[in-house]
């Protein structure tokens, strides 16, 4: 076991982690631990753009953006946080441009902007061009630009270091941050990182669904580590299903395709979104569009032999426009479906995309251990966190924005905290739990296979916890997960070695997915209303009297070591927008 000492440790090297690192490296001795090479992070898969009311191409302002974010989140958004997001968006985009990001440009040479779902002029009057973009590879450009600037700033990376545990210690009755425990993939060695400040920026947890746009690596490692250490997870029942994933594969096709004029059609060729969202049509918010797609499918207007998908039609757009603005997604259609999007509509279905919920933080990125107490020295930013700027449904282009605004804030706050704080003494045997966990899995000789449990989990979540949910389906999910967790105790892995043991890591990741799927299903079962991405057929309307509040899920352990989930609730911060009926 090796012990390292840093002022600030950042867990994850996607957009949020690297944006934080650029700030914290200037101010404190910083280490970035990442289970991948930084440029492999899933920020790079984001396509359509980053929202900011630059008003480069038409009238716009941050207040309209704030309103759209609050409404898009179905009034579960903390409005103070949304205001910060929209206000700081402008500098966040300009900062990236100054770091070198190659945005598409207007004829005048300024950053070009395009339409995106749910982003409107003057509180919903019409679609507005707010998304700053680089073709359909904006996330790739952000990830590369941030990595380039990390190289420039000399950020210290520990690549392929997998953080398995968060170390907290009580000092004078206050729970404080002591560091993290990591597993070095190349050697199998355990590393303890003592740190004054820790920032979780480890991404989402979408891999508990089968049809998903998420990478294999998005297994909620940060959320699970925090949860097991007694910290709450906020709003985990809110998961976003992006309307346009490639049929059956789930590979993302950007909303920017509809921003450029693409149209969704059912088997009759009908532009069905006109029925569901008369003003915004195909550019309504994602939850609305995904539900509309499934309604079409359920009512027999789906396409294909099984009627299980609809079309994204780009055939009326000039090929030059597709080549210039949507080169990657048109190539995906050619590569994976063998079709030509110039002339063929693309078969699509909703795909599990983004966790609105996560580790609760305030607007400085400080992690909360209950509704209002911060854990000194602990921060989170990006998809792993819940600020909450996305509420019950995130708007497209607000996540690339979130990672930049709150990644930067967390990086500054953590480094400033580390400048004045002392190290907290490490617990005795700090790596004890991790070693015990790894040895249990490595030496397990049960008959259960990790891949079987994982695919059954994914199947159950797709069937029971997707776009449409009911009490019965969510209970089924809870039951399935409990059975799978029991089977998980009897897994074995084939690779018993130390070197690059990805067999072992997949088993650890499955444990994280099971825990987080359970929180998602249990939180969803208790929320007897429909709001944003959480739609209950048995409670089809929003219930602001009982449920305009955040879910806070805690892991409880009884005297016998049995665990359960306790739910509590936290008020939503409302500043200037009272909840209204949500129409697009």
């Amino acid at each position: 076991m090796q012990v390292h000492k840093y002022d600030t440790v950042i867990v994850g090297a996607g957009g949020a982690g690297m944006r934080a690192a650029i700030e914290s490296t200037k101010r404190s001795r910083t280490a970035v631990l990442t289970k991948l090479y930084p440029t492999r992070s899933h920020t790079g898969a984001a396509q359509g753009g980053m929202a900011a009311a630059l008003a480069n191409v038409e009238e716009d302002n941050w207040e309209w953006h704030t309103f759209d974010t609050v409404k898009g989140g179905d009034y579960l958004v903390d409005q103070d946080a949304a205001e910060i997001l929209a206000k700081e968006a402008i500098d966040a985009v300009l900062d990236l441009e100054k770091m070198g990001l190659p945005f598409n440009r207007t004829p005048e040479g300024r950053i070009d902007q395009r339409r995106f779902g749910g982003h409107t002029r003057d509180h919903g009057k019409a679609a507005v061009r707010r998304s700053c973009y680089a073709a359909d590879r904006t996330g790739h450009m952000i990830l590369q630009t941030l990595y380039q600037n990390c190289v420039k700033e000399g950020v210290e990376f520990f690549n392929e270091f997998y953080v398995l545990d968060l170390l907290l210690a009580e000092v004078d009755g206050v729970k404080r941050t002591a560091g993290v425990v990591a597993y070095e993939l190349a050697t199998g060695e355990i590393h303890v990182f003592q740190a004054k400040a820790v920032i979780f920026a480890s991404g989402g947890n979408g891999k508990f669904f089968k049809v998903t746009s998420n990478a294999h690596t998005l297994t909620g490692d940060g959320q699970a580590a925090a949860f097991r250490r007694g910290l709450p997870l906020e709003d985990m029942e809110f998961f976003q299903f992006h309307p346009t994933g490639i049929w059956r594969m789930g590979i993302l096709l950007t909303e920017g395709a509809r921003g450029e004029g693409g149209i969704l059609r059912n088997k009759d060729g009908e532009r069905f979104m006109e029925k569901y969202a008369p003003v915004m049509k195909d550019l309504a918010s994602r939850d609305v569009v995904s539900r509309a797609i499934y309604t079409e499918i359920r009512e027999g207007r789906g396409c294909g032999l099984d009627g299980d998908h609809v079309y994204l039609d780009l055939t009326h757009l000039p090929p030059e426009q597709l080549d210039a603005k949507l080169p990657d997604i048109t190539e995906f259609a050619r590569t994976y479906l063998g079709i030509e999007p110039y002339t063929d509509p693309i078969p699509i279905q909703p795909t599990a995309h983004y966790a609105m919920g996560g580790i609760p933080t305030n607007v400085q990125g400080e992690v909360l251990l209950d509704n209002d107490t911060v854990v000194p020295g602990l921060y989170a930013a990006g998809e792993v966190a819940c600020v909450s700027v996305h509420g019950a449904n995130r708007l497209g282009t607000n996540s690339l924005l979130d990672i930049n605004v709150f990644g930067r804030r967390a990086g500054i706050a953590a480094a400033e905290y580390a400048a004045t704080a002392d190290y907290v003494e490490l617990p005795e045997n700090p790596a004890e739990q991790v070693v015990e966990q790894l040895e249990r899995i490595r030496n397990g000789n049960g008959s259960e296979r990790v891949s079987d449990i994982r695919s059954e989990l994914q199947q159950s979540m797709d069937t029971n916890s997707m776009v449409y949910r009911t009490e019965a389906t969510l209970k089924q999910a809870v039951e399935d997960i409990a059975a799978l967790k029991e089977r998980y105790k009897h897994i074995s892995v084939m690779d018993k070695g130390k070197r690059f043991n990805t067999d072992l890591l997949e088993a650890v990741e499955l444990g994280n997915l099971l825990d987080l799927a359970e929180v998602t299903a249990v939180s969803g079962l208790a929320r007897k209303e429909s709001r944003g991405g959480h739609f209950r057929e048995d409670y089809p309307t929003r219930d602001d009297v009982n449920f305009m509040q955040h879910t806070m899920a805690y892991r409880e352990v009884d005297a016998d070591g049995n665990t359960s989930i306790r739910l509590d609730y936290k008020p939503v911060v409302v500043t200037r927008y009272q909840p209204m009926e949500r129409k697009y």
């Binding site: 492999r40 100054k98 440009r105 300024r110 420039k152 009759d268 032999l305 994976y336 892995v493 067999d503």
Partner: protein, 265 residues
């Protein structure tokens, strides 16, 4: 809008329908049994690499990565490789498939002659650590050595820097790089001389040398004028063929060479 009358055929309606779309939507799967022949190496177990054959029955429309995953998940959990996004944007799974560098997640089984054994090896020229996992550190070091970041002087502008769409086009192609190393490890010069910067580093230097906002071109050109720099390139075009992002790598290298001669960029 036309009204569909045929219920049993693939839906028509107002939608254009080609044979390609019908094939994609048919859902018809004709399973094939394939042999995947993988170069296995684990120095914890044995000092030498060996070829191991795996038989599996799959839909030929799946990705090579899906086949490798199936082997790992159902036959041999010790099989080791890197992967993440699974759709060609993260650059984790570059490997030599039937002797050519490709991303396993962007290559479909049907396109790699599944009637014969499909051979899979680690990319060449970097030290193999286990199975298909190679040491990427020298590759990223070469990248860092070309100063792959915007270099500017003077005060920052208040708003964005102005750049015409035409100026963006001069380096747009090389911004697509995902650092997968498929190009560098397909280069015969790199195989023989690990100190050569290699195509990927030059691509990333190009991305900044031709960016109208950048002021560091002279420094980068001096670095690439080195004995191990652009002049080692023998224009074999392996790199261009290997690039999963369709970057014209050899052309970019030629543009850097020309800039070194003319000092115009």
């Amino acid at each position: 809008m036309s009204t569909p009358t045929i219920e049993d055929a693939a839906p028509q309606g107002g939608n254009p329908h080609s044979a390609g779309l019908d094939a994609a939507e048919s859902g018809k799967v004709e399973l094939v049994t394939i042999t995947v022949r993988i170069r296995r190496f684990n120095p914890e177990e044995h000092p030498d690499a060996v070829w191991v054959d795996y038989q599996l029955t799959v839909d030929p429309k799946i990705r090579v990565l899906d086949a490798i995953n199936t082997i790992k998940w159902e036959q041999d959990g010790t099989l080791t490789y890197r992967r993440s996004c699974a759709h060609g944007v993260c650059g984790s799974d570059a490997m030599r498939i039937n002797g050519k560098n490709r991303l396993a997640c962007k290559t479909l089984i049907k396109d790699v002659n599944p009637e014969k054994p499909i051979t899979i090896e680690p990319i060449k020229g970097l030290t193999v650590l286990k199975d298909l996992v190679v040491d990427m550190d020298p590759f990223f070091q070469a990248y860092r050595d070309v100063m792959p970041f915007l270099i500017t002087t003077g005060n920052e502008p208040t708003r964005e820097r102005i750049q015409s769409e035409g100026d963006v086009q001069r380096f747009e192609d090389t911004t697509k790089c995902i650092l997968c190393a498929a190009c560098t490890t397909s280069c015969p010069v790199f195989w023989n001389d690990g100190q050569y910067f290699g195509p990927a580093a030059i691509v990333n230097a190009h991305r900044f040398i031709f960016d109208s906002r950048d002021e560091g071109a002279e420094q980068r050109l001096e670095i690439l004028n080195d004995r191990e720099g652009v002049w080692r390139c023998r224009t074999t075009f392996n790199c261009t063929d290997a690039c999963p992002r369709g970057i014209e790598v050899t052309k970019a290298i030629q543009e850097v060479k020309r800039a070194l001669v003319t000092r115009r960029f």
